[in-house]
């Protein structure tokens, strides 16, 4: 049986038979890999801990007929601090969920994405910056790698530069912000035609309103030169936290629109974030 070695981050798993697990792993060498962890559900088995989501392992894999099999796993990193904060843990799982979905499309950038994901998990585990801010950074980074970076400085319809007073809404189909004038035109067209797709192509249902504060969070998070600890988790004012959460949800909505499915991991803490 042929074997190969890889370094990977577990991004999901499901049970196989009585005592095994199938683990989805994003590896630096081959991108997304699915492999069987034999005996991973037997108590006391050495592989059980290694097969847990979010753990980073050095692996030796054997190529099987349909699925590869993990023959050896050596733990390198486990982010134990993620296990003590439900919001941060949920964000980490959200990264994993996104990786499961978009992983196949990142095949050409295995190594870059592997480092990006590991860094993102480390930052979330460090518990320094606000988890939603880190999540927003992750979302922009992922969109960049996928080539879906949204337009934030010009109106995507009339191409005029955006200002606080001219902000309309974030348009998911077009991946950018629409100015107030174009948004109103779109709404009028909609009212006249009664059709969701108005002549200006503006689908009101997929648009989310943008306030100046929300806009600022998006602009700052999209800028890689802004340091990661821009917003500390404990000191941010409620109004800042609220607009940050709103900004992050806009981006999640955009990503889900691209993915064609809802990402579930953050549903659990949605109520906590609104507090």
């Amino acid at each position: 049986m042929a074997t190969y070695s890889a370094t990977g981050i577990n991004v999901g798993s499901f049970n196989l038979g009585e005592s095994d697990k199938i683990v989805t792993i994003f590896t630096a060498e081959r991108g997304l890999v699915r492999a069987v962890a034999k005996g991973a559900r037997k108590p006391g088995s050495k592989i059980a801990g290694r097969a847990e989501p979010l753990n980073v392992n050095k692996l030796l894999l054997s190529t099987g007929r349909s699925l590869d099999i993990i023959s050896q796993a050596e733990g390198i990193e486990t982010f134990p601090k993620l296990r003590s904060d439900l919001v941060r843990l949920s964000y980490a799982l959200y990264y994993a969920e996104l990786t499961q979905h978009f992983g196949p499309g990142l095949a050409e950038e295995n190594e870059v994405y592997f480092d990006f994901l590991r860094d993102a998990l480390r930052r979330q585990a460090e518990q320094d910056a606000d988890p939603a801010w880190l999540g927003l950074r992750f979302e922009f980074g992922l969109l960049d790698l996928l080539g879906y970076r949204p337009e934030l400085t010009y109106c995507i319809i009339c191409r005029k530069p955006l200002m606080d007073a001219s902000l309309g809404a974030f348009h998911q189909d077009w991946g950018g912000i629409v100015c107030k004038v174009c948004m109103n035109n779109g709404q009028n067209d909609l009212a006249q035609s009664g059709d969701n797709h108005s002549p200006s192509g503006f689908t009101i249902r997929t648009a989310r309103e943008i306030t100046p504060l929300v806009w600022r969070h998006l602009i700052l998070a999209a800028d890689e030169k802004i340091p990661g600890n821009h917003l500390s988790g404990k000191t941010a004012k409620p109004s800042i936290k609220q607009s940050l959460t709103a900004a992050r949800r806009i981006l999640q909505g955009y990503i889900e629109h691209r993915a064609g499915k809802h990402m579930k991991s953050l549903d659990l803490v949605a109520d906590f974030e609104d507090l």
């Binding site: 999901g12 038979g17 009585e18 005592s19 006391g44 050495k46 801990g49 290694r50 847990e52 989501p53 979010l54 733990g75 486990t78 134990p80 296990r83 003590s84 904060d85 439900l86 843990l89 949920s90 799982l93 959200y94 994993a96 969920e97 579930k264 991991s265 953050l266 549903d267 659990l268 906590f272």
Partner: protein
């Protein structure tokens, strides 16, 4: 391979059991055919009887044919302590130790953020209601240290702490008879965290 219809059907049903493959399913089906008619009827009615009569206890959600269950009905159990477990089989494992004399609460699963399995699908609301209404002093979380277990513990702690009761979690560490040098770093760090004076 050709099986006559009823036999094929029986094999198919056995194959739905956890951990049973086609080979074992065949062996079980042939075993049934070799039994006396009386024994087979006994088996069939045991299956139907168990399914009909065993329900969740309305207080602790353990499996029982009576409601409240045997543990909840016993006056020898300490009602001020609730041990929270994920599944009935965890409760049975703890009962085997004969160490614990309090009552239980079975969550009927764990929170799984990635699967979208939330607290509303478990018996969490009922647990909070019990803690509120039963003069509970301590809640012991006997929940596995997996990602889902940890998420469930964090969530429960978030709900229970404001109620002003003691919330503890069972210790995790090295398996008895296990070798320290072979333990992984998470197990070791948890064992270190849960150390105690001797």
């Amino acid at each position: 391979m050709h099986f006559t219809r009823p036999l094929a059907k029986l094999i198919e049903e056995f194959q739905k059991f956890p951990g049973v493959g086609p080979k074992s399913a065949q062996r079980m089906a042939f075993h049934i055919l070799s039994l006396s008619s009386e024994n087979v009827h006994g088996l069939a009615s045991a299956i139907v009887d168990a399914k009909d009569r065993v329900k969740h206890c309305s207080r602790c959600f353990h499996y029982s044919a009576q409601d409240p269950c045997e543990i909840c009905a016993s006056d020898r159990r300490d009602r001020h302590t609730i041990c929270v477990v994920a599944e009935p089989r965890d409760l049975i494992a703890l009962e085997r130790t004969r160490e614990y004399k309090g009552s239980y609460h079975v969550l009927t699963g764990l929170i799984s953020p990635m699967e979208g399995k939330g607290p509303e699908q478990l018996s969490i609301r009922e647990l909070i209601h019990r803690v509120d209404s039963e003069e509970v002093k301590e809640v012991i979380l006997a929940i596995s240290p997996t990602v889902e277990g940890d998420a469930t513990v964090l969530y429960l702690n978030h709900l229970l702490k404001p109620l002003g009761i003691k919330v503890t979690r069972i210790a995790f560490g090295l398996p008895v008879g296990g070798d320290l040098e072979y333990a992984d770093d998470v197990t070791l760090s948890r064992a270190m965290e849960g150390r105690r004076e001797i």
